[in-house]
Amino acid sequence: MEMNGELFKLSVRALKRRWRQAVLLFAVLSFSFGFAVMTIMINGSMEATNRAYAEAKYGRYDILIPYGVPEDREWLESREWLLKLGTTVSYGRLALDKDGRNGPSIGTVDQGFIELGHLELESGRWPEYPGEIAMEESKLDMLKLDKTLGGTVEFTIYVPTNHRGLYVPVQRSFKLVGIIREYADGWNYLSGGPRAASRTPASGAIITEQDAQSVYAEAGESVGQITYEENGETVTATLSPLLYQYHIIRDKDMSRQARDELQGYMKKAGRLGPTFNDDSNIQSIIGRSAEATSYYSTLILIVTALGVICIYLLRVRSEAASLARFRSLGLTKRQLLLMVFYETVIIALPAFVVGVGLAAGGTALALELTVYAGSVPVRVTFPWKKLMIAALLWLVTVVAVRLAAVFVSLRTPLTGRIGAPGRRAWLIRRLNRALIWTLTVAVCYTALLTFSHSRIYLYDLFYTKEAATNATVSPKGDEGTVPANTVDRLRLVEGVKNVWGIRYFVTDVMGKALEERDEYTRQTAPVYVIDDADLEYLIPFDDLELICDSFSREEFIAGDSVLAVSDSNFTLSFGNDLDFDIINSRELLFPVGDGVITARVGYGGKFGRAVYNTQGRDIYDLPYYDINDGEFSGDHLWGILCSESFFERFLSSMPEGQALDGVWTAGERHDYNKAVMTFYPGATYLGAAEEINWIVDEAGLRSNIGNLSSAESYRRDFNQVEIQFLAGGLCVMFIIFIVIFSAMALEAERERRSAGIMEAIGLSKSRRYLKRLRSTLKSFLSAAAVSMVMIIIKEDFYRPYLEWLEEDFRYNGRLRTLSERILDELLSCAYGNWYQYGGTFWRFAIPLGICFAVILAASVFAGGRVTRGNLTDRLRDEQ
């Protein structure tokens, strides 16, 4: 025991003597471990935050039975896994869309549902007595009803029958006692399972059960008079069964049992299965986020191992020699291992503690700075199990590498000048250089990957963080437009960064035109008209012109060009090669001519927008949002982006009465008679929201400040994944830079003697520097080239070129244009997958430039160490 104490003291003394190296190693170990833990922590924290966010935003139930029956309740209440149960019953629709479907519903909710925390009152109270009603503001708007609490609202309730599209109208009036906070998006969220669930209408109006039964009873009396034709026969309609929905919170420990029992129960009843939150899109985001962090956690651990190997390998000669000297003095193998163990633990344990501290602080800071989670505070979790596994792996790596030194020392002859034999020393030197080169490839690759995947900029991050102040400002009802000066006033609000104006002429006309083609029977067509003044916001840079080779901004502004945006995948077709899209445009009477641009962009897929995310702005933000909202209807949408003057011409050429009938905005049907102007102000601080509200109220407009659209939540979640990519990538880069710096510095120490000899026989310092820089440059260029090839292969960047090749052969029978295209591509880097991931020339030049600058700095620093001190000292250097 006493002996162990002595060995421990010796280890401490040795480390004190080599304190610079010890500190360096400590830094590498603590940073690397810290970053690995941080990546793991971000993963856990993101997951917890996302879950909390999902709960807050979409309700805390985690199972939905969308088409329930009253008997279900008794069965559910007898389940041991049931923690909470909320029930909603839909009795009818408040309005119908053109297909007689999908209108918001009216119904009842029980106390359990309210307690789930999903449904909240904006003002007033819940209906308690017959004749009372609470409604969403948007539903009141939609029905053009007075929103005064205590006032009377009168409307028709459409009670569904067993025949699709056939309803029994029941006229009712209620006393408005409460305004419900809008929550319809929550129902969408739960649509991860069967598609049918997403069609489940949300109750935008809540009445008492007594009233609801009365409505149903009255409808039941009338339904017998309604008939319809089926297979040539006249059939009397009957009422549809009431639509019960059960919202369940289960005991998480009994998840499997709950799932099995529920599925068995529903199957036995021959009904649609339950929908589990586990299947929802948030899970896929969490999944992708986990994938990102696992990827980087693994990468960090590998890089750490490489770094530790690299540093110890550089020291292995001197360390092995030192250990061999100990052996010559009678140190046993056990004592040798113990000493190495002590030296490792003395550095690794504090590094572990500091690493965990760094990780905790770094995670909290990174999440605080970058994550927006609405009203939910960002959760910072501490995943102990994963942490322990990472620590174990990390320690094993460190100890394993240190054992290499012991292994070498045991094979070092104890005779003469003790040290690694020449051949082994040469091998170690070569291995070390190979390791540094490999790390250079790794850092270049990581930089390219990180920067190419992270379409996120600080601007975007902070913009997203303040997304709560985003607002949609639109007219109340379908009358009038936003007064022009409102826009200017909004722009003057301190903190408002931009106000994007969109005039909606969203019409059925395209749908009708397309209905003539069988395959497009359900398509509707929003048309976005961009104010000429807003072009700078929407097309702030020239990227579009790079994409669309015949696009002319001047023509666009003058109204001679159209940019049509359609659904389907996000392959761009451009130029005058107008096939699929332009046919429809012609049907719409667009005066198509030279300079018309068409493009096809994916909807609903977050990656689709990447094509248009340039310089920190999404030029298709608005179409993107609305396309997503539009998806609610389950239809495909077509968007056309054009200049205002063009649209005026377009309108004048439209047949009378076709243009402005039947409008879809924000997933709801509005019967606008004329165009409305909607603005999207984005403010930088929350206080601006109040001022925006004030201006909006004064102008007699409607705004939905603070109501994040589903697109914004996509954006938030998307950003979180991006943050993980960015954080992970930067962590890996940082560690590699430290390792390369350390490795080069240590290598320089070893070179001192040989460099001194070279200097003594006539090699000047400046030539030595030049030689060193040349070799660094060569090594970097080869590493950068390898990393570029790797990234091109990984991201399939070469695919467009192959497509060009194929096109050239198919259409031209030669490769004449290919070289021109490649040249153009090289100059602009504006096409293909690289571009889709936000790639531009600078997107790869900047990361590689940073890598080169750091490696060059490391090389210069190391060069300084080689020639530091006077020549005679260096010649005497033991290294």
Binding site: L10, R18, R325, L329, G330, T332, K333, T415, G416, R417
Partner: protein, 221 residues
């Protein structure tokens, strides 16, 4: 006199790229307790190899080496290490001091590794005799060659080993310092009754030895 160390038909063969080199060819020799032996011979004659085998730093290809009648060539690494630190001291031509420790730690290292503490009187006596009393806190890199070699000598004698091996201990020193160093080593060994086996090229040193072993082509002649 007692035989303390005995080499019996020791051979040592090295493999090199061009084949095999026989560094020792059946060397047998008995070393008596308390005497000063000088091993001389040309470069490459095998004298250092013999010293390394006698001291347990290297193992013979065949043959045995006995200390007080015990063949230690078959000892395990651990047993050999313990045996070495208790019974043998070694002075290397390259000193082989531990750079990370000061002089005091260096010279007490064999004792420390053995879990013993240095006899303070003896430590003062040795360091005083070797002129290291005021250099105990210094590190090897701060010492001159002669001082480093004296430090190595102090390390070799402090544990009071039975045998001290020195491989050209004055090879890196000038004549005057070399003579002084050798004198110190010899006096120390004599005073504490230790057997001293020195490999040297220096015939002046050899002349002062009790016995001179001449090696030629791996054989004692």
């Amino acid at each position: 006199m007692d035989i303390i160390l005995s080499a019996k038909d020791v051979t040592r063969t090295y493999k090199v790229s061009s084949g095999q080199v026989e560094a020792l060819r059946g060397v047998s020799y008995d070393f008596e307790n308390g005497l000063f032996y000088a091993v001389i011979g040309r470069s490459g004659s095998g004298k250092s190899t013999l010293l390394h085998i006698l001291s347990g730093l290297d193992r013979p290809t065949s043959g045995s080496v006995e200390v007080n009648g015990t063949d230690f060539t078959r000892y395990s690494d651990t047993k050999m290490a313990i045996f070495r630190r208790r019974h043998m001291g070694f002075v290397f031509q390259q000193y082989n001091l531990l750079d990370d420790y000061n002089v005091l730690t260096n010279i007490t290292m064999p004792l420390t590794l053995d879990g013993r503490r240095a006899d303070q009187d003896y430590l003062q006596e040795v360091t005083g005799m070797l002129g290291l009393s005021d250099k105990l806190a210094k590190y090897p890199s701060e010492l001159s060659g002669g001082e480093q070699q004296r430090c190595a000598i102090a390390r070799s004698v402090l544990a009071k080993p039975h045998i001290i091996f020195a491989d050209e201990p004055t090879g890196n020193l000038d004549k005057k310092v070399g003579e002084d160093t050798m004198g110190l080593l010899r006096d120390s060994a004599r005073r504490f009754g230790q057997t001293l086996i020195v490999v040297t090229h220096d015939l002046d040193i050899a002349r002062k030895a009790d016995q001179v072993i001449h090696i030629e082509d791996g054989k004692i002649i």
